[in-house]
C-alpha cells in the first residue's frame, strides 16, 4: 500500500506557513496590543496634559499647592465611595444569596436580569432621581437623625433642608454599585460545589447553616472582589454626585447630613471643565490622573483577589 507516503504528508502542515494566517494573526495580535497601548496611553496623555499643574503657582491653582487642592477632593471621593460600599455590600450579598439559593429556580434568572437593569440606567438619570425623589424622601429621616443622634459628629446639624447631602449621594452611589457586586457574588455562590451543600444539608444543617458552612467560605474571595469592583465604580462615578451635592471643594467634612459637603474628583471635573481654560484644564486633568491611579489600583487588587481566591478555593 502507500503507507510509506504518509510520514511526509503528516509533517507537511508544519512546514507550510500561509501568508493569510500570518496577516490574520498579526491583525489579531495588533488588536490585543491596542488594549495595552490604550491603557498606557491613558496614563501618558493624562500625565502630559496635567503635568503643568504639579508645579503651578498658587494663584493659578486657587489653593496653596496641588496637594492642598486635590486632598479634599480625594477625601470626598474616597469617603463617599466607602460609605456607598458599606451600604451596598450587605444588601448585595443578600440579593446574591436570594437569587442563587432562595428564589424559585424558574424566577432566579429573571430576577438576575432585573438587577442587571439597575446597571443599565444611565448615571445622569440616577442623579435626577436622587435629587427629585430620594433627597426629599430622606429629609425627615435626617431631621430625626439630628434630633436623636445629633451627639454623634456624623449626624450633627444643621440639617440641609434640601436633602442634597453626603448621605443622599452615598445612598445613590450604593444603588448604582449594587448590580456589579451582586453579579460577582452571584456567580461565585452558584459555583459552590453542589456536594459541599448537600453534605451540609445531609448533616441536618438548616439552609442558613448550609450557607454559612459551604457557600460563604467558598465565595469569600468573590465577595471581596465584588466589593472592590463596586468601590472602583463608586470612585469614578461622576454625574450622580455632581447633581446631588452642592459642591464646595475645599472642605473636609465628615458630617453626613449638613449642607457643607466635600466634593469628589469626578464631580469637580464635570462641573468645572466646560469653563476651564489654560492651567485650569491642566489642574483638572491632573486630578483625573490621580483618580485614574486610584481606581486602577482598586480594580487591580480586586482582580488579583478574584484570581487568587478562585484558584485557592478550587484547589
Amino acid at each position: 500500500m502507500t503507507a510509506t507516503a504518509t510520514p511526509p504528508v503528516a509533517q507537511a502542515p508544519k512546514a507550510v506557513t500561509r501568508r493569510g494566517d500570518k496577516i490574520f494573526s498579526g491583525i489579531a495580535l495588533a488588536a490585543a496590543l491596542t488594549i495595552l497601548v490604550t491603557l498606557a496611553g491613558v496614563a501618558a496623555f493624562l500625565l502630559a496634559e496635567g503635568y503643568p499643574a504639579f508645579g503651578a503657582p498658587a494663584e493659578d491653582l486657587g489653593a496653596d499647592s496641588f496637594v492642598a487642592l486635590v486632598g479634599p477632593l480625594l477625601f470626598g471621593t474616597i469617603y463617599s465611595s466607602i460609605l456607598a460600599l458599606l451600604f451596598a455590600a450587605p444588601v448585595a450579598v443578600g440579593i446574591a444569596l436570594y437569587i442563587s439559593h432562595y428564589a424559585p429556580r424558574r424566577l432566579a434568572r429573571a430576577f438576575g436580569y432585573v438587577i442587571d437593569l439597575l446597571a443599565a440606567v444611565p448615571s445622569v438619570v440616577f442623579g435626577f432621581w436622587g435629587i427629585t425623589v430620594l433627597a426629599p424622601f430622606l429629609v425627615p429621616g435626617y431631621v430625626w437623625l439630628e434630633a436623636n443622634l445629633g451627639f454623634i459628629p456624623l449626624f450633627a446639624g444643621p440639617v440641609a433642608k434640601s436633602g442634597f447631602v453626603m448621605l443622599t449621594a452615598a445612598l445613590v452611589l450604593a444603588v448604582m454599585i449594587l448590580p456589579i457586586m451582586t453579579a460577582v457574588c452571584r456567580e461565585v455562590f452558584l459555583q459552590t460545589p453542589r456536594l459541599h451543600e448537600e453534605a451540609a444539608l445531609a448533616l441536618g444543617a438548616t439552609r442558613w447553616e448550609m450557607i454559612q458552612m459551604a457557600v460563604l467560605p467558598y465565595g469569600r474571595s468573590g465577595i471581596v472582589s465584588g466589593a472592590m469592583l463596586g468601590l472602583g465604580r463608586a470612585l469614578g462615578e461622576t454625574l450622580a454626585v455632581t447633581i446631588i451635592l452642592s459642591v464646595n471643594p475645599t472642605v473636609i467634612v465628615f458630617n453626613l447630613i449638613s449642607s457643607q459637603n466635600p466634593s469628589t474628583i469626578p464631580a469637580n471635573i464635570a462641573l468645572n471643565f466646560p469653563e476651564a481654560t489654560g492651567i485650569g484644564v491642566s489642574v483638572l486633568v491632573a486630578t483625573g490622573l490621580v483618580l485614574f491611579v486610584l481606581t486602577f489600583a482598586v480594580n487591580y487588587l480586586a482582580r488579583l483577589v478574584a484570581s487568587r481566591g478562585f484558584s485557592g478555593a478550587a484547589g
Binding site: 488594549i35 490604550t38 491603557l39 450587605p90 445622569v124 440616577f126 438548616t206 447553616e209 482598586v298 480594580n299
Partner: protein
C-alpha cells in the same frame, strides 16, 4: 449560630419548646436506634431544608416514615405567608388609625414586624436554629425587595415626569433659538447616534480581533497579562476616558480647547472595547474544539477556520454582547460632557466643534435652567425617559439575540 459538621447540636438546646431527648419526644415511644439518632438529630431534620416546596419525606423502608408524620415542631407551610399578610394588615391598620399611613412606612414596618414575629413563633415551635434560618430567609428577601424599590421608583418617576414633553416636537426640533418652552432634542439624538455609531465602528473590530487573539492564538504571560488588563480596563472611570480623549486630541492637534465628535467617540470606545472583548471571549470559548479540528482536518487554514467556522458559530453571542456594550456607553454623560460639550443646534460634523448628545442634553437642561424652569426640567426628564427607553430596548434586543442564538447544549 454556627454548627460545624463535627459537632451535632445538643438535644436540649435544639428543641427549646420540648423536654426530654430528641429520640423520643416526637414519637412518644422508643424508636429503634438509627444512625441519625446517634447524632442527636430529629427525624424531621432529615428533611431537605434547601427545598421548602417539597418537604422531603423520609425514605421508604424507614421505620419512622410509616408512622403519622409529626407536625409538632414544624410550622405549617401556610403560616409564613399568613403571618406576612397579618403583619401587613396590622401595620397598615395601625398607621391608618394614627393617620400616618404611607406605602413605604407600611412596607418597612411590615418587614420588621414579620421578621420579629416569625422569629418568635419559630423559636417557640421549632427551636433556635430553625428560627434563625427563617429570619435569614426574611432578611435575604428583604434585601432583594430593597434593591427593587429604587428601580421601581426610578422608572415610575422617569416615566411619569418624562411624558410631559414626550411629543413630536421633542423628537423633531432642536434647541436653536428656543428661550423658554418648546424646542426639542433632535440635535442631541442625532449626536448620540453619530458618536455611539463611530465608537461602535472602532470598538467592535478591535474588540472582536483582540478576543480572537486571546482565544485562538494567545498563550503565555502576554495572554494572561492582556486578559488581566482587559478586566482592569472595564473599571476605568468614564470621566477619565473623557479626559484621555481630550488630552489626546488637544495635544496632538495643538488645540487646547478641542471639542469634537471624534474625541467623544474615542472616549466611548475606551469604555466599550473591554466590554466587547470580554463578551466575545466568552462566546468564542463556547465554540466546540471539534468544529475547529474538523476544519483543520479538511486542510482549511487557521484564519479561514476562524472567519468561516468559529466566528459564524458564535455570531449570535457576539451580536448580543455588542448590543449590550452599546447600551452601556450610550448613556454615558461625563466623557461626552468633556469632549463634546453641548450646543443648541445641529452639528453634523463630527470632526470639529461642539455637539449635543442626549445624556449631556439632559444634564445641561437640568442644571442650567432658564425661564421658565419647568420647561427645562420637563425637557430633561423627557430626555431621561428617551434614554432609558433606548437603553432598555437595546438590552432587550441583546438578551433576545443571545436567547435565540444560544448554543444548543444540554445545559
Amino acid at each position: 449560630m454556627s454548627t460545624t459538621p463535627g459537632t451535632p447540636p445538643t438535644p436540649t438546646t435544639d428543641r427549646s419548646g420540648k423536654t426530654g431527648t430528641t429520640s423520643e419526644s416526637p414519637h412518644g415511644q422508643s424508636a429503634p436506634v438509627r444512625p441519625g439518632s446517634s447524632l442527636g438529630l430529629t427525624p424531621e431534620q432529615f428533611g431537605t431544608p434547601g427545598t421548602p416546596g417539597t418537604p422531603g419525606p423520609p425514605g421508604p423502608g424507614d421505620p419512622v416514615a410509616a408512622e403519622p408524620t409529626p407536625t409538632a415542631g414544624r410550622l405549617p407551610q401556610a403560616l409564613s405567608p399568613g403571618l406576612l399578610l397579618a403583619s401587613a394588615a396590622a401595620v397598615a391598620g395601625l398607621l391608618l388609625l394614627l393617620g400616618r399611613f404611607t406605602v413605604v412606612g407600611t412596607v418597612v414596618l411590615t418587614a420588621v414586624v414579620y421578621t420579629v414575629g416569625i422569629y418568635v413563633v419559630a423559636r417557640v415551635v421549632e427551636g433556635h436554629r430553625r428560627a434563625v434560618d427563617r429570619v435569614v430567609t426574611a432578611l435575604v428577601t428583604v434585601a432583594f425587595v430593597l434593591a427593587m424599590a429604587p428601580l421601581v421608583s426610578l422608572i415610575w418617576t422617569v416615566a411619569t415626569r418624562g411624558l410631559a414633553r414626550f411629543d413630536v416636537a421633542f423628537f423633531t426640533q432642536s434647541m436653536a433659538g428656543v428661550v423658554g418652552e418648546g424646542g426639542g432634542a433632535a440635535h442631541a439624538i442625532i449626536g448620540t447616534l453619530q458618536v455611539t455609531g463611530i465608537a461602535t465602528l472602532i470598538s467592535v473590530p478591535v474588540g472582536i480581533m483582540a478576543s480572537v487573539w486571546l482565544v485562538e492564538y494567545g498563550k503565555g504571560p502576554l495572554k494572561r497579562g492582556i486578559t488581566f488588563l482587559v478586566d482592569v480596563m472595564t473599571g476605568i472611570p468614564s470621566i477619565v476616558a473623557g479626559l484621555f480623549a481630550f488630552a489626546l486630541f488637544s495635544l496632538l492637534l495643538g488645540d487646547p480647547g478641542h471639542r469634537s465628535g471624534i474625541a467623544g467617540a474615542i472616549a466611548l470606545s475606551v469604555l466599550m472595547t473591554p466590554v466587547v472583548v470580554r463578551t466575545c471571549e466568552e462566546m468564542l470559548k463556547l465554540v466546540p474544539d471539534e468544529l475547529r479540528e474538523a476544519s483543520f482536518a479538511l486542510g482549511v487554514p487557521r484564519w479561514r477556520t476562524i472567519t468561516k467556522v468559529v466566528l459564524p458559530t458564535s455570531i449570535g453571542g457576539i451580536a448580543a454582547g455588542v448590543t449590550i456594550a452599546i447600551a452601556r456607553v450610550i448613556g454615558e454623560t461625563a466623557p461626552l460632557l468633556i469632549t463634546l460639550g453641548f450646543t443648541t443646534g445641529f452639528n453634523f460634523d463630527m470632526t470639529e466643534g461642539r455637539a449635543s448628545t442626549l445624556p449631556v442634553f439632559a444634564f445641561d437642561q437640568f442644571r442650567n435652567r432658564g425661564l421658565p424652569p419647568e420647561a427645562f426640567i420637563d425637557r430633561a426628564w423627557t430626555a431621561a425617559l428617551s434614554l432609558i427607553i433606548i437603553v432598555m430596548v437595546l438590552n432587550g434586543i441583546g438578551r433576545l439575540i443571545a436567547y435565540l442564538y444560544a448554543p444548543k447544549t444540554n445545559r
